[in-house]
Symmetry: C2
DNA sequence: CGCTTGCTTGGAGCGCACTCCAGGGTTTTA
DNA sequence: TAAAACCCTGGAGTGCGCTCCAAGCAAGCG
Protein backbone atom coordinates (compact mmCIF):
# COMPACT_ATOMS: atom_id res chain seq x y z
CA UNK A 1 0.00 0.00 0.00
CA UNK A 2 1.28 3.39 -0.94
CA UNK A 3 1.51 5.46 2.21
CA UNK A 4 -1.09 8.15 2.22
CA UNK A 5 -3.46 10.00 4.49
CA UNK A 6 -6.34 9.92 2.07
CA UNK A 7 -6.35 6.19 1.42
CA UNK A 8 -9.09 3.77 2.39
CA UNK A 9 -10.26 4.85 5.79
CA UNK A 10 -13.22 3.21 7.41
CA UNK A 11 -15.66 5.81 8.62
CA UNK A 12 -19.01 5.89 10.34
CA UNK A 13 -21.93 8.08 9.28
CA UNK A 14 -20.55 11.06 11.18
CA UNK A 15 -17.24 10.86 9.28
CA UNK A 16 -15.41 9.88 12.42
CA UNK A 17 -12.74 7.18 12.22
CA UNK A 18 -14.24 3.82 13.06
CA UNK A 19 -10.98 2.04 13.83
CA UNK A 20 -11.22 1.60 17.52
CA UNK A 21 -8.60 1.53 20.19
CA UNK A 22 -7.86 -1.83 21.67
CA UNK A 23 -8.27 -2.38 25.42
CA UNK A 24 -5.32 -1.83 27.71
CA UNK A 25 -3.02 -4.87 27.64
CA UNK A 26 -3.74 -5.79 24.02
CA UNK A 27 -2.94 -2.33 22.78
CA UNK A 28 -0.44 -2.88 19.98
CA UNK A 29 -0.74 -0.98 16.73
CA UNK A 30 1.37 -0.98 13.57
CA UNK A 31 2.50 2.30 12.14
CA UNK A 32 -0.17 2.29 9.45
CA UNK A 33 -2.89 1.66 12.01
CA UNK A 34 -1.67 4.67 13.94
CA UNK A 35 -1.60 6.65 10.71
CA UNK A 36 -5.26 5.73 10.18
CA UNK A 37 -6.18 6.60 13.74
CA UNK A 38 -4.39 9.93 13.87
CA UNK A 39 -4.66 11.17 10.30
CA UNK A 40 -0.89 11.56 10.15
CA UNK A 41 1.17 9.73 7.53
CA UNK A 42 3.56 6.94 8.52
CA UNK A 43 6.33 9.19 7.20
CA UNK A 44 5.35 11.87 9.66
CA UNK A 45 5.16 9.39 12.53
CA UNK A 46 8.72 8.21 11.84
CA UNK A 47 9.86 11.78 11.46
CA UNK A 48 8.29 12.75 14.81
CA UNK A 49 10.32 9.97 16.37
CA UNK A 50 13.55 11.06 14.70
CA UNK A 51 13.27 14.63 15.95
CA UNK A 52 12.57 13.51 19.51
CA UNK A 53 8.89 14.35 19.65
CA UNK A 54 7.88 10.83 20.65
CA UNK A 55 8.52 8.79 23.78
CA UNK A 56 10.26 5.45 23.28
CA UNK A 57 8.11 3.31 20.99
CA UNK A 58 8.11 -0.45 21.50
CA UNK A 59 9.39 -2.65 18.69
CA UNK A 60 8.43 -6.14 17.59
CA UNK A 61 11.14 -8.84 17.69
CA UNK A 62 12.00 -7.87 14.08
CA UNK A 63 12.20 -4.19 14.79
CA UNK A 64 8.81 -2.98 13.61
CA UNK A 65 7.11 -0.29 15.64
CA UNK A 66 4.32 -1.34 17.98
CA UNK A 67 2.49 1.69 19.27
CA UNK A 68 0.41 1.55 22.44
CA UNK A 69 -2.57 3.48 23.78
CA UNK A 70 -0.40 5.93 25.68
CA UNK A 71 1.37 6.75 22.42
CA UNK A 72 -1.98 7.53 20.82
CA UNK A 73 -2.80 9.79 23.77
CA UNK A 74 0.47 11.60 23.25
CA UNK A 75 -0.22 11.98 19.53
CA UNK A 76 -3.64 13.42 20.35
CA UNK A 77 -2.02 16.06 22.52
CA UNK A 78 0.56 16.79 19.84
CA UNK A 79 -2.24 17.18 17.33
CA UNK A 80 -4.01 19.69 19.54
CA UNK A 81 -0.87 21.67 20.17
CA UNK A 82 -0.12 21.67 16.46
CA UNK A 83 -3.51 23.29 15.87
CA UNK A 84 -2.54 26.14 18.13
CA UNK A 85 0.40 26.91 15.86
CA UNK A 86 2.96 25.84 18.45
CA UNK A 87 6.28 25.17 16.67
CA UNK A 88 7.35 21.54 16.60
CA UNK A 89 10.56 22.52 18.35
CA UNK A 90 8.55 23.68 21.39
CA UNK A 91 6.68 20.41 21.49
CA UNK A 92 10.00 18.59 21.37
CA UNK A 93 11.05 20.66 24.35
CA UNK A 94 7.94 19.57 26.23
CA UNK A 95 8.59 15.94 25.26
CA UNK A 96 12.11 16.26 26.65
CA UNK A 97 10.76 17.57 29.93
CA UNK A 98 8.43 14.61 30.18
CA UNK A 99 11.32 12.21 29.52
CA UNK A 100 13.48 13.91 32.13
CA UNK A 101 11.08 12.93 34.89
CA UNK A 102 9.14 14.37 37.79
CA UNK A 103 11.54 17.18 38.65
CA UNK A 104 10.44 19.04 35.51
CA UNK A 105 6.83 19.44 36.63
CA UNK A 106 7.18 23.14 37.32
CA UNK A 107 8.67 23.88 33.94
CA UNK A 108 5.99 21.86 32.17
CA UNK A 109 3.36 23.73 34.12
CA UNK A 110 4.77 27.07 33.00
CA UNK A 111 4.99 25.92 29.42
CA UNK A 112 1.37 24.80 29.44
CA UNK A 113 0.23 28.04 31.03
CA UNK A 114 1.98 30.22 28.50
CA UNK A 115 0.60 28.05 25.71
CA UNK A 116 -2.81 28.60 27.18
CA UNK A 117 -2.28 32.35 27.01
CA UNK A 118 -1.21 32.03 23.37
CA UNK A 119 -4.35 30.10 22.56
CA UNK A 120 -6.54 32.71 24.22
CA UNK A 121 -4.78 35.42 22.26
CA UNK A 122 -5.28 33.53 19.03
CA UNK A 123 -8.96 33.05 19.73
CA UNK A 124 -9.29 36.78 20.33
CA UNK A 125 -7.50 37.53 17.05
CA UNK A 126 -9.77 35.18 15.19
CA UNK A 127 -12.85 36.75 16.70
CA UNK A 128 -11.55 40.14 15.62
CA UNK A 129 -11.04 38.78 12.13
CA UNK A 130 -14.51 37.31 12.20
CA UNK A 131 -16.07 40.70 12.80
CA UNK A 132 -14.12 42.20 9.89
CA UNK A 133 -15.27 39.33 7.73
CA UNK A 134 -18.87 39.83 8.81
CA UNK A 135 -18.73 43.50 7.96
CA UNK A 136 -17.44 42.67 4.50
CA UNK A 137 -20.00 39.91 4.03
CA UNK A 138 -22.78 42.34 4.93
CA UNK A 139 -21.36 44.82 2.47
CA UNK A 140 -21.45 42.25 -0.33
CA UNK A 141 -24.91 41.08 0.69
CA UNK A 142 -26.16 44.67 0.48
CA UNK A 143 -24.39 45.17 -2.83
CA UNK A 144 -26.02 42.00 -4.11
CA UNK A 145 -29.42 43.34 -3.02
CA UNK A 146 -28.76 46.63 -4.80
CA UNK A 147 -27.76 44.87 -8.00
CA UNK A 148 -30.82 42.64 -7.83
CA UNK A 149 -33.24 45.54 -7.38
CA UNK A 150 -31.43 47.39 -10.17
CA UNK A 151 -32.03 44.49 -12.50
CA UNK A 152 -35.64 44.30 -11.35
CA UNK A 153 -36.40 47.96 -12.07
CA UNK B 1 18.53 52.04 7.59
CA UNK B 2 18.77 48.33 7.62
CA UNK B 3 15.37 46.93 6.81
CA UNK B 4 13.82 45.33 9.82
CA UNK B 5 10.57 44.90 11.65
CA UNK B 6 12.05 45.39 15.06
CA UNK B 7 13.82 48.68 14.36
CA UNK B 8 12.98 51.99 15.94
CA UNK B 9 9.24 52.14 16.11
CA UNK B 10 7.54 54.99 17.84
CA UNK B 11 5.02 53.69 20.30
CA UNK B 12 2.58 55.12 22.80
CA UNK B 13 2.13 53.88 26.36
CA UNK B 14 -0.20 51.10 25.24
CA UNK B 15 2.42 49.77 22.83
CA UNK B 16 0.32 50.71 19.83
CA UNK B 17 2.04 52.23 16.81
CA UNK B 18 1.96 56.00 17.04
CA UNK B 19 2.64 56.68 13.37
CA UNK B 20 -0.68 57.98 12.24
CA UNK B 21 -2.38 57.84 8.94
CA UNK B 22 -2.50 61.01 6.97
CA UNK B 23 -5.85 62.50 5.96
CA UNK B 24 -7.37 61.56 2.62
CA UNK B 25 -5.76 63.61 -0.17
CA UNK B 26 -2.35 63.86 1.50
CA UNK B 27 -2.08 60.12 2.02
CA UNK B 28 1.26 59.21 0.54
CA UNK B 29 3.58 56.79 2.36
CA UNK B 30 7.00 55.40 1.49
CA UNK B 31 7.57 51.70 1.68
CA UNK B 32 9.35 51.96 5.03
CA UNK B 33 6.53 54.00 6.51
CA UNK B 34 4.11 51.30 5.47
CA UNK B 35 6.44 48.71 6.97
CA UNK B 36 6.29 50.58 10.26
CA UNK B 37 2.52 50.94 10.12
CA UNK B 38 1.80 47.33 9.23
CA UNK B 39 4.60 45.45 10.96
CA UNK B 40 5.58 43.84 7.67
CA UNK B 41 9.06 44.27 6.24
CA UNK B 42 9.67 46.26 3.05
CA UNK B 43 10.86 42.98 1.54
CA UNK B 44 7.49 41.41 2.22
CA UNK B 45 5.63 44.40 0.83
CA UNK B 46 7.53 44.18 -2.44
CA UNK B 47 7.02 40.43 -2.51
CA UNK B 48 3.27 40.83 -1.99
CA UNK B 49 3.26 43.10 -5.03
CA UNK B 50 5.26 40.66 -7.15
CA UNK B 51 2.91 37.76 -6.47
CA UNK B 52 -0.16 39.82 -7.30
CA UNK B 53 -1.49 40.29 -3.80
CA UNK B 54 -1.53 44.08 -4.04
CA UNK B 55 -3.57 46.46 -6.17
CA UNK B 56 -1.62 48.85 -8.37
CA UNK B 57 0.60 50.99 -6.16
CA UNK B 58 1.33 54.59 -7.21
CA UNK B 59 4.91 55.60 -7.96
CA UNK B 60 6.79 58.86 -7.47
CA UNK B 61 8.31 60.55 -10.52
CA UNK B 62 11.49 58.54 -9.86
CA UNK B 63 9.72 55.23 -9.55
CA UNK B 64 9.50 54.90 -5.77
CA UNK B 65 6.35 53.39 -4.30
CA UNK B 66 3.84 55.79 -2.78
CA UNK B 67 1.23 53.89 -0.81
CA UNK B 68 -2.16 55.43 -0.04
CA UNK B 69 -4.73 54.92 2.70
CA UNK B 70 -6.69 52.39 0.65
CA UNK B 71 -3.51 50.33 0.32
CA UNK B 72 -3.16 50.33 4.10
CA UNK B 73 -6.78 49.20 4.39
CA UNK B 74 -6.04 46.36 2.02
CA UNK B 75 -2.96 45.38 3.99
CA UNK B 76 -5.04 45.35 7.18
CA UNK B 77 -7.44 42.91 5.58
CA UNK B 78 -4.57 40.79 4.30
CA UNK B 79 -3.13 40.73 7.80
CA UNK B 80 -6.42 39.53 9.26
CA UNK B 81 -6.83 36.83 6.64
CA UNK B 82 -3.25 35.74 7.21
CA UNK B 83 -4.08 35.21 10.89
CA UNK B 84 -6.82 32.81 9.92
CA UNK B 85 -4.27 30.64 8.18
CA UNK B 86 -5.62 31.39 4.73
CA UNK B 87 -2.93 30.53 2.16
CA UNK B 88 -1.41 33.49 0.35
CA UNK B 89 -2.51 31.94 -2.95
CA UNK B 90 -6.16 32.25 -1.89
CA UNK B 91 -5.67 35.87 -0.96
CA UNK B 92 -4.13 36.44 -4.38
CA UNK B 93 -7.26 34.90 -5.88
CA UNK B 94 -9.39 37.34 -3.92
CA UNK B 95 -7.18 40.23 -5.04
CA UNK B 96 -7.65 39.13 -8.66
CA UNK B 97 -11.41 39.11 -8.21
CA UNK B 98 -11.28 42.66 -6.87
CA UNK B 99 -9.18 43.75 -9.85
CA UNK B 100 -11.55 42.09 -12.30
CA UNK B 101 -14.35 44.41 -11.27
CA UNK B 102 -17.95 44.41 -10.14
CA UNK B 103 -19.04 41.26 -11.93
CA UNK B 104 -17.05 39.17 -9.43
CA UNK B 105 -19.14 40.26 -6.42
CA UNK B 106 -20.87 36.91 -6.12
CA UNK B 107 -17.64 34.94 -6.17
CA UNK B 108 -16.05 37.25 -3.61
CA UNK B 109 -19.10 36.86 -1.42
CA UNK B 110 -18.81 33.06 -1.55
CA UNK B 111 -15.10 33.21 -0.80
CA UNK B 112 -15.70 35.41 2.23
CA UNK B 113 -18.47 33.18 3.50
CA UNK B 114 -16.41 30.02 3.26
CA UNK B 115 -13.53 31.82 4.94
CA UNK B 116 -15.93 32.75 7.70
CA UNK B 117 -16.83 29.10 8.14
CA UNK B 118 -13.13 28.20 8.31
CA UNK B 119 -12.57 30.80 11.01
CA UNK B 120 -15.48 29.50 13.06
CA UNK B 121 -14.13 25.98 12.76
CA UNK B 122 -10.68 27.12 13.87
CA UNK B 123 -12.11 28.91 16.87
CA UNK B 124 -13.94 25.72 17.83
CA UNK B 125 -10.74 23.70 17.47
CA UNK B 126 -8.86 26.16 19.62
CA UNK B 127 -11.52 26.06 22.30
CA UNK B 128 -11.32 22.29 22.27
CA UNK B 129 -7.55 22.54 22.65
CA UNK B 130 -8.03 25.03 25.44
CA UNK B 131 -10.06 22.56 27.47
CA UNK B 132 -7.40 19.87 27.01
CA UNK B 133 -4.80 22.38 28.12
CA UNK B 134 -6.86 23.34 31.16
CA UNK B 135 -7.23 19.70 32.19
CA UNK B 136 -3.48 19.25 31.98
CA UNK B 137 -2.81 22.48 33.82
CA UNK B 138 -5.12 21.38 36.61
CA UNK B 139 -3.33 18.07 36.74
CA UNK B 140 0.02 19.78 37.17
CA UNK B 141 -1.40 22.23 39.70
CA UNK B 142 -2.67 19.28 41.79
CA UNK B 143 0.64 17.47 41.40
CA UNK B 144 2.41 20.62 42.56
CA UNK B 145 0.12 20.76 45.60
CA UNK B 146 0.87 17.14 46.40
CA UNK B 147 4.62 17.69 46.15
CA UNK B 148 4.38 20.79 48.34
CA UNK B 149 2.44 19.02 51.10
CA UNK B 150 4.85 16.10 50.86
CA UNK B 151 7.76 18.43 51.48
CA UNK B 152 5.85 20.07 54.36
CA UNK B 153 5.15 16.80 56.16
C1' DC C 1 31.16 67.30 -3.91
C1' DG C 2 31.07 63.39 -1.27
C1' DC C 3 28.61 60.84 2.31
C1' DT C 4 24.76 58.65 4.17
C1' DT C 5 20.39 56.80 3.86
C1' DG C 6 16.71 54.91 1.40
C1' DC C 7 14.64 53.07 -2.68
C1' DT C 8 14.80 50.02 -7.04
C1' DT C 9 15.15 45.21 -9.40
C1' DG C 10 15.65 40.04 -10.34
C1' DG C 11 17.00 36.24 -8.34
C1' DA C 12 18.99 33.33 -4.73
C1' DG C 13 18.58 31.47 0.02
C1' DC C 14 16.33 30.01 4.29
C1' DG C 15 13.51 27.65 7.97
C1' DC C 16 9.76 24.93 8.84
C1' DA C 17 7.11 20.85 8.54
C1' DC C 18 6.72 17.55 6.28
C1' DT C 19 7.15 14.15 2.07
C1' DC C 20 9.34 10.98 -0.56
C1' DC C 21 12.95 7.73 -2.38
C1' DA C 22 16.14 3.78 -2.74
C1' DG C 23 17.11 -0.42 -1.37
C1' DG C 24 16.35 -3.71 1.62
C1' DG C 25 13.81 -7.03 5.20
C1' DT C 26 9.10 -8.96 7.06
C1' DT C 27 4.36 -10.46 7.20
C1' DT C 28 0.16 -11.80 5.23
C1' DT C 29 -2.66 -13.86 1.85
C1' DA C 30 -3.85 -16.95 -2.08
C1' DT D 1 5.74 -21.14 -1.55
C1' DA D 2 5.29 -17.24 -4.08
C1' DA D 3 3.30 -12.84 -4.71
C1' DA D 4 1.54 -8.80 -2.62
C1' DA D 5 1.46 -5.78 0.98
C1' DC D 6 3.79 -3.78 4.63
C1' DC D 7 7.74 -2.08 7.32
C1' DC D 8 12.70 -0.48 8.01
C1' DT D 9 16.64 3.24 7.45
C1' DG D 10 19.31 7.45 6.13
C1' DG D 11 19.10 10.98 3.34
C1' DA D 12 17.26 13.90 -0.32
C1' DG D 13 13.38 16.74 -2.03
C1' DT D 14 9.18 19.87 -1.73
C1' DG D 15 6.11 23.87 -0.93
C1' DC D 16 5.23 27.81 1.57
C1' DG D 17 6.14 32.30 3.16
C1' DC D 18 9.10 34.97 3.52
C1' DT D 19 14.15 36.98 3.75
C1' DC D 20 18.14 38.55 1.89
C1' DC D 21 21.71 39.91 -1.62
C1' DA D 22 24.02 42.52 -5.30
C1' DA D 23 24.28 46.28 -7.95
C1' DG D 24 22.61 50.50 -8.98
C1' DC D 25 19.75 55.04 -8.77
C1' DA D 26 18.10 59.13 -6.02
C1' DA D 27 17.54 62.56 -2.38
C1' DG D 28 19.16 65.28 1.55
C1' DC D 29 23.02 67.26 4.21
C1' DG D 30 27.62 69.48 5.70
Amino acid sequence: MVETTTGTRTENCAGLPLYERRPEGQDKYTISEVATLTGLTAHTLRWYERIGLMPHIDRSHTGQRRYRNRDLDWLDLVGKLRLTGMPVADMVRYAELVREGDHTYAERFDLLKSTREDVLARIAELQDTLSVLDRKINFYADAGQALASERAS
